[in-house]
């Protein structure tokens, strides 16, 4: 059974139905959450059928000729990393839909928003399952269309500016990648399946050709990830887009960048990756510190969380480009953990915004006494973001640092400062929001309702479970990471 194709087709079809069939609009929320829960159930079935002992191998492979003239195939398949990210996507989409339950009074707008969310989900799953560089590229770029509309049509005052900024950044990156994609075709074996990653792995390039190709891909992924200095679109989008959009964007879609680095940059261009690693590690460390310092200075909580992500993505990239088993394993684990913790953090900010219509830290204060459950939940989510031991981000971070240290001592030590800074921006924010005297306007704040608890608590549970028993995730990530490390170090031995 072509289960991956079904996983891609289902949200696309249901999303398009929601967009074009007016009769569905009145029931848009129910329809969308139903569709996304079905998707989640299918993903659970996928996980059940996945052979964990072979997590490093591509499973559920489907290869069909698509455009043989240019060597493109409809080729899908997942290893443990792709599987984890698909699980993350399928988990977050229903949560995001539920979190935004009360938004949009008008049914047509609601249908439009949810339809676009479902269509985006289809692209996400497709990207994480793609085993063909051309297919990956097509989905990578086409995904911009629903995202652009999600950012541009729904959200705050500056949303159109943010949408254009997002689009221009992404397009420039994507189109540079296109040149590399076409050039890769001429370097590869050609033929009907010229773009299959398995046919392209292990090619040897003329050093400079390989480096240029690597850079073509890397620039696109660095923009997506986002890495300093091409990160500036993210805070703009985070502050103007709707919280659900931002959550999807940061928690899942940005992972496309790091996923691309792992599965395309490292495996296709191992020599060039080694060549570029010192520069990239420097960039990553700059990201860690810059993102953290910038987060400390933010008053807008969406921007704050966005900058913390820039910092955390720096750590992920550091782990990836340290090329060590533990560091890459940690980085992949961090991709999942970060999705959970930052997703939860954004949703919490969204709940605060829904209550008071503002996300300015200054406007809040003393909420702990009024809304203890909200405060407690916020604290736990915040602590996960600063990598409290026992939660999955901690396990991920420590693996990144332990793994990266032998490869890049100074960089790792400097990056660890990011953890200290994280304590600062999270705890300071918590202090300003929830402690001290309660302003008059805050006294009647409502606590988290059942729906909101159901939205955030599963994420916390997931983080705790994965934090206490990281093996649950690492079983899926070890094998693929080992494969990547083998490819990179094999190249070094030549």
């Amino acid at each position: 059974m072509p289960i991956l194709t079904i996983l891609i087709a289902w949200p696309a079809v249901t999303g398009l139905l929601l967009l074009v069939v007016p009769q569905l609009r009145a029931w848009a929320r129910e329809f969308a959450i139903g569709a996304s829960v079905v998707e989640l159930a299918l993903v659970v079935a996928l996980v059940a059928a996945f052979d964990r002992s072979q997590a490093g191998a591509i499973q559920f492979s489907e290869i069909h000729s698509w455009i043989p003239q240019i060597g493109a195939s409809w080729a899908l398949g997942v290893n443990g990393i792709g599987l984890s990210l698909i699980v993350l996507s399928a988990l977050l989409v229903p949560i995001v839909i539920a979190a935004g339950w009360k938004e949009d009074d008008a049914a047509p707008r609601r249908a439009q928003y949810l339809g676009l969310v479902l269509v985006s989900e289809s692209f996400m799953v497709g990207i994480f399952a793609a085993r063909d560089v051309f297919l990956f590229y097509v989905l990578f770029e086409a995904m911009l269309i629903p995202l652009y509309f999600l950012i541009g049509s729904f959200g705050g005052q500056q949303r159109r500016y943010a949408a254009v900024k997002f689009l221009i950044y992404s397009l420039v990156g994507g189109l540079v990648m296109l040149v590399a994609v076409i050039a890769l075709y001429f370097q590869g074996p050609g033929g009907d399946h010229a773009f299959l990653t398995m046919n392209l792995t292990g090619l040897t390039f003329d050093p400079w050709v390989g480096r240029l190709l690597f850079l073509g891909f890397f620039v696109a992924f660095a923009i997506k990830a986002p890495l300093v200095p091409v990160h500036t679109w993210l805070p703009s989008v985070a502050e103007s887009a709707r919280v659900g959009t931002t959550t999807l964007l940061v928690a899942i879609l940005d992972k496309v960048g790091t996923f691309g680095m792992l599965t395309l940059c490292l495996t296709l261009f191992p020599a060039a990756s080694r060549w570029a690693a010192p520069f990239i590690i420097v960039l990553a460390v700059i990201s860690v510190l810059y993102g953290a310092f910038a987060a400390i200075g933010q008053d807008n909580m969406y921007r704050l969380v966005a900058f913390t992500s820039v910092s955390h993505f720096g750590m992920i990239v550091l782990g990836i480009f340290a090329f060590r088993q533990t560091s890459i394993e940690g980085a992949t684990f961090y991709m999942v953990s970060h999705g959970l913790s930052t997703g939860a953090l954004f949703l919490m900010v969204g709940f605060l915004e829904a209550r008071h219509g503002t996300v300015s830290v200054k406007a809040f204060g003393g909420l702990q006494k009024v809304v203890p459950v909200l405060a407690g939940t916020f604290l736990i989510v915040g602590l996960s973001a600063l990598a409290l031991p026992g939660m999955s981000p901690f396990a991920s971070e420590i693996m990144v640092f332990i793994g990266a240290y032998p490869a890049a001592k100074v960089a790792t030590i400097v990056a660890i400062l990011g953890v200290v800074l994280a304590a600062l921006y999270i705890l300071l924010t918590y202090q300003k929001l929830f402690t001290g005297p309660t302003p008059k306007a805050m006294e009647s704040t409502k606590d988290l309702n059942l729906r909101e608890r159901l939205v955030v608590w599963p994420l916390i549970v997931a983080m705790l479970v994965l934090g206490i028993v990281p093996a649950l995730a690492l079983d899926y990530l070890k094998g693929p990471s080992a494969g990547i490390v083998a490819i990179v170090s094999q190249e070094a031995g030549k």
Binding site: Q69, I70, V138, A142, V164, L167, L175, L178, I182, F186
Partner: protein
Amino acid sequence: MTYPAPDIAWASLTPILIVLGAAALGVLLEAFVRVPAARRIYQFQLSIIAVVAALLAVVWRWVALQGDGVVVLKSMIMLDRQALAWQFLILIFALGGVLLFADKGREGEDAFTPLGSVAPGSAEETVARAKGMYLTEAFPLVLFATGGMMLFATVNDLLFLFVALELFSLPLYILVALSRRRRLLSQEASLKYFLLGAFSSAIFLFGVALLYGATGKTGMYELGGVLATYMPQRSVLILLGVFMVVVGLLFKIGAVPFHFWVPDAYQGAPSPVTAFMAAATKAAAVAALARLSYLVLFRLAWELNWIIWTVAIASMVFGTVLAIVQTDVKRMLAYSSIAHAGFILVAFAGFSPSALSALPFYMATYGLATLGAFAVITQVREVTPDGAIGAEATRLGQWAGLGKRSPLLAVSMMIFLLSFAGIPLTAGFIGKFVAFRAAIEAGAWPLVLVAVLASAAAAFFYIRLAVLMFFTDAPTDVAPHVVIRSTTLGRGVAIAMAIAVIVLGVFPSWALELAHSAGVLLAPAIGG
């Protein structure tokens, strides 16, 4: 001295003969059918039948073609698959064009002035309008233009090429001037187009004369043979001649710096004419340039490449930058077409053999989207102070909120814009992909890099229009209001093109296969 009768393979000429014959018949209809409304219907039917019959004839020739092609008229005309592919494309564009020509709203008005010869705003014009007269000459004119373009895409002789050039240009000069609304703008556009066109024709002819002077040949195949052994010492005439011939063709493609007519002609012409002209003229000119390149110019690759590179970069950059600052939809598309001329030249750079199959595909994707976009434009209208439907609403601001009022048209338009921008899952992406692939194959990757950056910048103004249509609410207080003049034909063309753009974007395999087999020139000079 005796002149032996030339041996002509008439069957291969059937498509062209059908179109030109129908055009001549159309002129007779003008003379003998006296009732304007009936004349309009006959003309329309005749044109449609002619174009469809010619399309079928092209398909018949394609199927019947043995080997690489047929020599029709010595070295003058050779019908190979490349030529047939271009003829097919031009006929498809003509079909769309004719349908838009015939598009008539409930108010009974088409895009053309009832009487081209009277002064704008004169009493005669009012009378003609009141009498419900139609300018039915448009149909034979477009058939003549189509026939000329089909010939243009086929000819292997520079002198004959000039004849075909004039054959398709002259009707277009007239058609551009015939807009029903904003007639002064239309006439001015026509005058500019005519003067610059005449200028470029003259340069082209001068170039042909120089080449003949230097080599004694006008046939492309023979010229290629001469250039194979060409000596740099006697090359000034040849280089100058080739340069001037290329300039003449670049003019028709609308590449910078020969683009000055494009924005004015696009804006001033009636939209159906713009649609036809934008798609078909470019296709015909690209076809001729392709033929010339692979028979003659590749011998001079070293001398010519810098020109192609310069013109390509200039077209992409100027077209994109100037399109960003446009406030008129038609002018914006005009500058975008200049940028697209640059992308086309990128495919030529390096004379890679795969450009011959990339170009027909690229032009198919571009032409279909262009036809569709102008079909949408014809339907977005202003409301005149007395409440009637007026001219096209081409100011960008007037398109605000279109997505709410006419989702179908707005979504179609967005598909065309995404295709122009080269976003995946639309035809434009595959078109760009194959064009860029041809360029990279020939080592022109810096050019491709410029092209993709230009594409990224261009996305800005395509998307801006999408933003206006979908994210912005229509202003309610500003006059004049905008209405959607919904007509079956216009809407049908737009939707058909949108579907075609998506199909070619998602399942391009079959079309690429056809384009691949079209990438064959009969002349054995290729690769020599």
